[in-house]
Amino acid sequence: MKKKTTNTQESEKKYKANWKEKIKPYLYIAPAFVGIGLFTIYPVIKVLIWSFQKVNQLDTSKTKWVGMKNYSYLISNSAFQKTLLNTLIYTGGTLAIIMTCALILAFWLNKSQGHLTIFTQGAAFMPHVISSVSIALVFSMMMNPSFGLFNKVLTAIGLPASPWLTSSSTAMPSVVGVASWKAIGYYCLIIIGALQSISASIYEAASLDKAGVGVTLRKITIPMISPQLFFVIITMTIGSFKVFDTVRLLTDGGPNNATSVLVYYIYKQVFWESNIGRACAAGIVLLILVGILTIIYFKLLSKRVHYQ
């Protein structure tokens, strides 16, 4: 009898300890999930709900459902269409410039490990760690049409001055230029990292097989770094869709909405127009764009890993 009770007590103890061990991992991740729940999942759901409502923040009881009205407004609104187009132009522009420059620089600077090469890599990377506020201020100073360095240099060498950020035809290329300048070094160093992870023995094997430079590049280098290239292209595209700082600081969306982009539009709807419903609908558009790219990325990545 006595023995039996100790037995049950022991197994109860064991059961308790076991149970404790089982919930422990959940306790360890719980705070992180509180953060994700409060500041990611809840807000995203809220944005989705609000995108179908006419939101009244002062008196929430007056908030009402409007169906697809916010979305149909956006689709037919010319300012929003322009914003979407601008976002695509900005994305295409930065993608083309950054990829071209970063790839050329990476292949070139990967060749040697000398002090000057390391210095150049460090210099190219530097703008990435500096606040976009500082960079926007310096460039808007240099791009100032009357006192700016760029126009002073242009006129000194006999070229026509440019209005840079102040004309609707040159504002977007100027913004794209600044954003590209800031990011080239970052992507260049990611690609260099990828190039250096290819083991030398593969190249040795290729040279034993008398593979030419072109063949080596096409058959070895590019396929070997393609996961990182996918990563670079996708993060760059997603980043461009979310651009805000440079636009807000350089041009404030102007002149004449020439540089108004998606996030800037959302920001304006919230803080200038107080139209939360529309802002959220535009936000869902952004979310869908980001989502599509993310899915493409993981699809391509899994395919790639498959035959590696």
Binding site: P25, Y26, Y28, I29, P31, A32, F33, G35, I36, L38, F39, T40, P43, V44, K46, V47, W50, Q57, L109, L116, T117, F119, T120, A123, A124, M126, H128, V129, I130, S131, S132, V133, L137, V138, M141, M142, N144, F147, L149, K152, V153, W181, Y186, L189, Q228, F231, K242, F244, D245, L249, I266, V270, F271, A279, C280, G283, I284, L286, L287, V290
Partner: protein, 276 residues
Amino acid sequence: MYKVRKRIGSVISVILKLIVSFIFIFPFLWMLSVSLQSDAETQSMSLTLIPKTPQFQNYVNAWNSAPFPLYIRNSLLVIAGIVILQMLIMVPAAYAFAKMEFKGKNILFGIILIAFMMPIQIRFIPIYFMMSDWNLMDTLWPQILPHMTDAFGIFLLRQYFMQVPDELIEAAKLDKSTDLQIMWKIMLPMSRPGVASVILLSFVGHWNDYFWPLVMTNSDSVRPITIGVASLKATEGSLFWNTIMAGNMFLVIPVLIIYFLMARNIIKSFTYTGIK
């Protein structure tokens, strides 16, 4: 002949490298130059590359034109708050994901990665109203709390924790160490580079951050340095670029010092893509 050609090639390559470096460094040198120019030099139609007599007064003017001590204090408090909170939250989570087995582990980790994809540029709308409802808009909390879980940080720490050999943990458990002791005495010291990366990324990222404080602050008393520097352009007009650039230096110098001291580590932390 081959030697000569090689030498010419290397001279050209040196020149090209210097030009590329110059393209990326020049705007910062120009910032420094203008910050030391006199009003006349900045506003003249001719170009001044190096100021005749450096005008350190510009820095005093910039410092006095806005409450910079307050802005800097706010920035540092926000960063400290974020780093402490993130460490308290992310270290246990990363430890659990790296070294514990539990049901739903993969799904839960997937949720973290998906959360990472949700743009802050849309989440700010409900969070802004949430913070107002909680009456926190006059405090620094709206700039700290929403950053409490950084999915990328958990991901990074987990990668480092996974490399700690299981035998060490088993041995510590036989010595009756609790999980808290294991985290503190084994995981953290053994993954020092990872922890340093996370803190470094947090520091630089939040010191430089413009968007979040812009949408999360209503009054000067809680604004960080980025907002202060950005507003110099409006208060100083487009004539006193020397004062604006002097103010800009306050924002740039701390990061540049860190960058010069540990460029290699910074580049490594920033370019860590998780794909190997």
